[in-house]
């Protein structure tokens, strides 16, 4: 039993060690400051922050609504909002491409009425990453709101607060830990998004080639750069875990 547990732990540890051993530490700064890398870094940062922001703006109302009921409609919406978490990202990318492409159900009217094409633009990166990342935010926040005693908001209304004010000044602060956790996980998921992005947005340097795509692109020609970028993403992930330690690693 313990031997198998050790094997499992080794399975997680080996890649980390392997990566760390291969990092070309002396050339690290040079590799990270190369034009292509800086482009990818900057784009990733912009897109992941935009996706995280979009997840909050769209996801918070959705999470609030989902937490408020258990009808068939609620359950159905929860299923389709959760789907991207288990769907292979490349399938999500193809589905987005079909919907927002020139002949798609959304893409066609967009192109015809507004002359807007979404696929293979920076906007499509944001859309793809939001599609994949928002479920994490929605589910985390919905759980938070559900576990929040509604009588607190009721108490606020007896003190003269409108339901909206009670939501903003009582419920939201009470679910702040869930909001923080949901936001972090969604952002981390957006930063690492690969499959849906490359399918729906392609890989064009400066406009759609985010960090994960840049790593994949560099793997053959400049393996050192790929390893350096991988190390960077690993460190970012570790930092996210550190920030989530309260929510995820609480020992009773």
């Amino acid at each position: 039993m313990q031997a198998i547990a050790a094997l499992a732990a080794a399975l997680f540890a080996a890649p980390l060690v392997g990566l760390a051993l291969q990092v070309p530490w002396p050339e690290l700064s040079g590799l990270l400051l190369a034009d292509e890398t800086v482009d990818a870094l900057w784009l990733s940062l912009q897109c992941s922050v935009a996706a995280a922001a979009l997840s909050v703006v769209l996801g918070l109302p959705l999470a609030t609504w989902l937490a408020g009921g258990d009808s068939l409609l609620h359950r159905s919406v929860r299923v389709i909002a959760t789907l991207p978490m288990v769907l292979p990202p490349v399938v999500g990318g193809i589905a987005l491409l079909l919907a927002f492409g020139q002949h798609g159900i959304v893409g066609h009217p967009l192109a015809q009425w507004f002359g807007v094409t979404v696929p293979f633009t920076t906007a499509s990166v944001v859309l793809a990453t939001t599609y994949v990342a928002m479920p994490y935010f929605v589910l985390t926040v919905e759980g938070g709101i559900r576990s929040c005693d509604p009588r607190y908001a009721a108490a606020a209304t007896t003190l003269g607060a409108t339901p909206w004010r009670a939501f903003c000044t009582v419920t939201l602060p009470m679910v702040a830990p869930s909001l923080r956790a949901g936001l972090l996980v969604a952002w981390a998921r957006a930063l690492g998004e690969f499959g849906a992005t490359i399918t729906f947005a392609g890989s064009f340097q400066g406009s759609t080639r985010t960090l994960p795509l840049a790593i994949y692109h560099a793997l053959e020609a400049q393996p050192d750069a790929a390893i350096a970028l991988s190390m960077l993403l690993l460190l970012v992930s570790a930092a996210v875990l550190f920030l989530l330690r309260r929510q995820w690693f609480r020992t009773p």
Partner: protein, 350 residues
């Protein structure tokens, strides 16, 4: 404002039909077993539940007529609600909790905090303004909740078992704070009381709820004249003494003196469960403080016990078993020795 309600409400299997009147300056205590609908009645008054039919009139405004159209939401009813588990906002300090209602009404932060500090002072927590609810004891938290409800100057104050969250040692002090605040409060007050002592100390009149119906209401003293149900009989079956305490000595209006476990000073109400009165044929050995010989005035047989009414200087009811009645030969009247341990009295300021 005067409160006049007469409504019905259906929640799942539970139906509630309640009619009550409370005048400004008056405090009504709702008594009743668990699940009788006391808290739900408060929530109806606050606007947290809508009624199915009837009316809820606060002052000259009908705030709920069961039709939905005239329903006035809680934030526009001008009520103050103190919840049983106080429901203080954990992310705000005690001061900001008290200031919350004023802030919701558009009062500037600085002024709201000044007013909040003043209210905290009044409930005896002037120094705890910066404390978070998590750092407050149950009694302190309930004081903050009281200050929070009063700070918006409600016309109707609703208290849901305000003493339940405080531990025994803090209860009396909290009760005194409530008494003071209720005396100064000019609006109407409805409170849920969990025992007769609380109702006696805080309320002018009572309504007893059972299974969603008001079975009896009126002045507390009148409740026992003709108990409407077993619950009421049991409720008022407690021995109740009014008198003046000096330390552990409680002097009753008739002149008799009793010894109570917890020292007090001034006018008090002491309650005592009939089971706590022990009866003997002969003067009991040892030296219990409260021992006297009393004439037996009558017996009242209940399902599982006999209530013995004793006369004399300390009129009291004792609850004993049928076997004890035989042993003590109480059926024939006569007299009997009664003993009460000082610690059995529950004493509270009148």
């Amino acid at each position: 404002m005067n409160v006049d309600v007469d409504f019905t409400l259906q929640r799942g299997d539970f139906s509630l039909a309640v009619g009550l009147q409370v005048s400004a300056g008056e405090t009504l205590a709702l008594l009743g077993p668990n699940g009788a609908g006391k808290s739900t009645t408060l929530r109806v008054l606050a606007g947290l539940h809508a009624v199915a039919s009837g009316h809820v009139r606060l002052g000259d405004q009908v705030v709920d007529d069961g039709a939905g159209a005239g329903f006035v939401p809680p934030e526009r009813r001008g009520v103050g609600f103190v919840f049983q588990d106080h429901l203080l906002f954990g992310h705000l300090t005690a001061r900001d909790n008290v200031a919350y209602g004023l802030r919701s009404r558009g009062v500037k932060a600085r002024l709201a905090r000044t007013v909040a500090d003043d209210w905290l002072q009044r409930v005896g927590l002037g120094a705890r303004g910066d404390a978070r609810p998590g750092e407050l004891s149950g009694g302190e938290a309930q004081r903050v909740a009281l200050a929070r409800a009063l700070a918006v100057k409600p016309q109707l104050l609703l208290l849901d078992a305000p003493l339940a969250a405080a531990d025994a040692s803090a209860r009396l002090e909290l009760r005194r704070t409530l008494q003071t605040q209720l005396r100064e409060f000019s609006g109407a007050c409805v409170l849920v009381a969990h025992d007769l002592g609380d109702a006696l100390a805080l309320a002018d009149k009572v309504a007893v709820l059972e299974s969603g119906r008001v079975v009896q209401q009126g002045r507390l003293a009148e409740l026992g004249h003709r108990p409407a149900s077993r619950y009421v009989a049991d409720l008022v079956g407690l021995n109740c003494f009014r008198g003046v305490c000096a330390g552990n000595a409680l002097r009753l209006a008739g002149g008799a003196e009793l010894f109570v476990g917890t020292p007090h000073d001034g006018a008090v109400i002491a309650t005592l469960h009939p089971r706590a009165v022990a009866l003997f044929r002969e003067r009991p050995a040892g030296s219990p403080r409260n021992v006297w010989c009393a004439p037996v005035l009558g017996l009242e047989r209940a399902v599982d016990c006999v209530r013995v009414r004793l006369g004399g200087d300390v009129p009291v009811i004792a609850e004993v078993t049928e076997a004890a009645v035989r042993d003590l030969e109480l059926d024939g009247g006569g007299s009997v020795w009664a003993a009460i341990k000082a610690t059995e009295f529950r004493v509270a300021p009148a």
